[in-house]
């Protein structure tokens, strides 16, 4: 489902960002045509600075000239606006919605930070191993959660990809890239349900079209890490 030039819906993003990916997957699931405006690494366009003056970050969805910022807010907005189209992203039950929202907080907090530590921010090999363990522990907790809330269905959202699927699934490209670079995260022995879920998620039409190439991400991770390390003050 390639982005088509619909001037009413623009998305500011960049190929590797999992947060941008969330918005793209949501737009695809809702069958919304949009114009993808790719930013260049290292510079911020005038449009980005104007549309997201608070954080100056991607993604930004610009709908009928009005910007929406923060990936999960964008996903909920897409679900609200195009409510009649494609599949519904948020659960219909208020308690289930609260559960999905709680776990997206966890994903963006614990999983994301330990994952980033394990691929980029670690200082020593010990720190790297510890971060990897923390990321695995977070995934294990999500495995238990999946068991509870999917109720035997393929996704956290049930039969179709939902809000929490998008929030977590957007990291799968990076997780697979990290595995190419030597980390062990998607362990079938430890998290079999999530491994099966990951396959289904990545093979979904709405995701396949936009998920970044694993090899490209694996190479890019190395570039990011060395640039990050170069910018750090020397370790005490």
């Amino acid at each position: 489902m390639a982005a088509s030039a619909n001037p009413e819906v623009k998305l500011l993003g960049i190929w590797f960002s999992p947060f941008v990916l969330r918005a793209r997957i949501a737009l695809n699931l809702k069958e919304v045509q949009y114009q993808f405006l790719e930013e260049q690494l290292g510079t911020k366009s005038d449009l980005l600075l104007e549309s997201n003056p608070v954080y100056k970050k991607m993604p930004v969805l610009i709908h009928e000239g009005k910007p929406v910022c923060e990936s999960l807010i964008i996903v909920q907005y897409i679900d609200d606006v195009w409510a009649g189209s494609g599949t519904t992203l948020m659960p219909t039950d208020a308690y289930e919605r609260a559960i999905h929202r709680f776990w997206t907080v966890y994903v963006d907090d614990k999983l994301y930070s330990s994952f980033l530590d394990s691929i980029m921010r670690y200082r020593t090999d010990e720190a790297k191993a510890e971060a990897e363990e923390q990321a695995v522990a977070a995934l294990q907790l999500l495995e238990e959660t999946f068991d509870k809330i999917s109720k035997g269905k393929p996704f956290f959202g049930g039969d179709t990809i939902g809000y929490l699927d998008i929030a977590l699934g957007s990291f799968l490209g990076w997780i697979r890239a990290a595995e190419i670079n030597g980390l062990k995260l998607l362990d079938h022995a430890r998290i079999p349900l999530l491994c099966a879920w990951a396959e289904k998620f990545c093979n979904n039409e709405a995701v396949r079209a936009v998920i970044p190439d694993t090899m490209k991400l694996a190479e890019f991770t190395k570039v990011l890490r060395s640039s990050y390390q170069n910018r750090l003050p020397p370790a005490k």
């Binding site: 929406v68 923060e70 807010i73 907005y77 208020a94 308690y95 609260a98 709680f102 907080v105």
Partner: protein
């Protein structure tokens, strides 16, 4: 109309995050049982209800726990939807409200903590940052009665508990919030006239609490 049976809130008196839940419940007229928690020796109920973070607030509705203050506020708004809507119905306005509540979440508490905990240059930096944060929020408020426009809404609920901490920030940082963000101070006073907010506002108690924390952490 949604059932009001069996609503419990696990909370800690001074927590601005817990106060968000209390304000939302009060705005909706929901009867609930308030259970003050000991955060040093956590209760079995708290550990069972929030095993992931072991933190307050936790809303327990008909035995089912909801955690994370803004998740709780949205849940309250959706379940008790017949009264005092907190989030706007328009999708764009809703997205804006979520954005600014999230901004408060990301910025205010963390910067405030640095302001009272740190000294010297680091404290000065935190103070500068706090002024920027407050001025940005004031610009967002504009000439509106509330962040929600004419009605008290989601962003108001998210931010108002932190105004109890203004006196502490001012005293520790040696500056006046009224001088840098006068409209915000007027907004705070307006909110404090609401039944749901007035009993929670206690800047002196907050300051006492922070002084106790400072002693405990050896800050001076």
């Amino acid at each position: 109309m949604a059932s009001e049976k069996g609503v419990t809130l696990l909370d800690f008196w001074v927590s601005p995050f817990g106060q968000r839940a209390r304000i939302a419940l009060a705005e909706k007229g929901v009867q609930y049982e308030y259970k003050e928690q000991n955060l040093v020796e956590k209760s079995d109920l708290l550990l069972k209800s929030n095993p992931v973070y072991k933190k307050i607030p936790v809303l327990i509705h008909d035995g089912k726990p909801v955690c994370e203050s803004l998740v709780i506020v949205q849940y309250i708004d959706e379940v008790w939807s017949d009264k005092a809507p907190l989030l706007p119905s328009d999708p764009y306005q809703k997205a804006q409200a979520r954005f600014w509540a999230d901004y408060v979440d990301k910025k205010v508490f963390d910067c405030g903590t640095r302001l009272w905990k740190l000294k010297g240059e680091e404290q000065e930096a935190a103070k500068k940052e706090m002024i920027e944060i407050l001025q940005l929020l004031e610009a967002q408020l504009g000439d509106n009665k509330y962040f929600g426009g004419d009605t008290f809404g989601y962003v108001d609920v998210a931010f108002i508990p932190f105004t109890s901490w203004f006196y502490t920030y001012e005293t520790c940082g040696n500056f006046s919030i009224e001088a840098v963000a006068p409209k915000l101070v007027k907004w705070a006073k307006r909110c404090m006239e609401r039944e749901s907010v007035k009993t929670l506002y206690d800047p002196n108690k907050v300051y006492e609490f922070v002084c106790y924390l400072k002693k405990k952490f050896g800050v001076e």
